[in-house]
Symmetry: C2
Subunit: 214 residues, 2 copies
């Protein structure tokens, strides 16, 4: 562990930390976004996606279809952790991975929230459905308004696509229902981080049974 | 108006645009975040806060108490425009203003959504209450869960504080009720942009009348 002379004076920094200049810490951690402290940690350990489906009887999960911006991945992980979700599932390819930038954007949420990688997201959604977990895709053209879904009464996977392109057809087709957020203004698109926050909190609040599960 | 040689070929770029290098455009617009086009526009025109309260019988407004990060201001304007809100109110001092960075972060929402500046946010909330508009402050310690508020049936101002510090006491005291979002995880704080998206969509969806207005 390394710290600048100033940071090393903080009471929570252990004795015997190596003192380094700010520039040395920048080089060590590969970012100028540090705050004067740098430590060696083990690589991020991804969770097992099947285990997430069996974590508890009614798991709440988020699946991200090719979200490539680390800020968006981090911000969605932060909202998911706060909303009490059990984990996040991302595809192995064409997705942002859990990097230090994602960890920072998540305000540390990825240290508590399991993140799993899967080879094929549509196949994972099929497994989720087989396990009795409902898959709701976020889609501007979705037929069910988000506030008319009966979220409570079973596990849920909320599936979000990348900003701009949305869900790929095979992923959308693997969902039980496509859920929309009303867009009442003129710019026409909510950010994926904002859409995620609205849907995560709608799902974790339970919702009213106006659209019952059949 | 200036455009790079490549951008000038786009069919929507008017004839007779001045061709410039990417570096010249960077200098003209004061940012390397341009996409090859730059034009002169009038300064941003702020709206009148009192007029926002009288725009329509039940206005939906957002007030931001010293939100200083341009990305957060832009992102909240984007969500507000999408959710069908009528405007955003910010204090004159210690707040991000509407700059090109805010406009970009808002995905252009500030071109459609009125933004007003007020000298004193608590005084504005008193005016809103006098006009029959309900002021709901977002507060982690709030006594009313967000999904138990009867949002429909009157105008609403949603009041959000800066990330980290939250609402100032006088601003919190000027609200009709303090509304909380449940934090079920361990990191303990949702981003202000995510909290805004959840509350804006809860308010614009109307909600269930479990907590009736009295």
């Amino acid at each position: 562990m390394w710290a600048t002379k100033n940071a090393a004076r903080e009471p929570w920094v252990p004795d015997g930390v190596a003192v380094a200049t700010s520039e040395e810490i920048e080089r060590l951690c590969g970012s100028d976004g540090h705050q004067g402290i740098c430590g060696e940690v083990a690589p991020f350990r991804y969770a097992d996606a099947d285990a997430l489906l069996r974590l508890r009887p009614e798991p709440l999960l988020v699946a991200l279809d090719q979200v490539q911006d680390p800020q968006n991945l981090g911000s969605i992980c932060r909202s998911a952790e706060c909303a009490g979700f059990d984990g996040v599932v991302i595809p192995e390819r064409r997705s942002a991975e859990v990097t230090p930038a994602v960890c920072k954007a998540s305000a540390g949420a990825v240290e508590h929230l399991p993140v799993a990688r899967v080879r094929n997201l549509a196949d994972f959604l099929a497994d989720a459905k087989a396990a009795g977990v409902w898959c709701y895709g976020a889609d501007a053209e979705g037929t069910v308004p988000f506030d008319r879904v009966q979220w409570a009464g079973g596990g849920v996977v909320i599936v979000l696509g990348s900003e701009g392109r949305g869900l790929r057809p095979r992923v959308a087709g693997a969902c039980d229902a496509l859920v929309s957020l009303p867009i009442r203004g003129r710019i026409g698109s909510l950010s994926v981080g904002a859409a995620a926050a609205v849907l995560l909190y709608a799902a974790s609040a339970g919702g009213e049974p106006e659209i019952a599960r059949s």
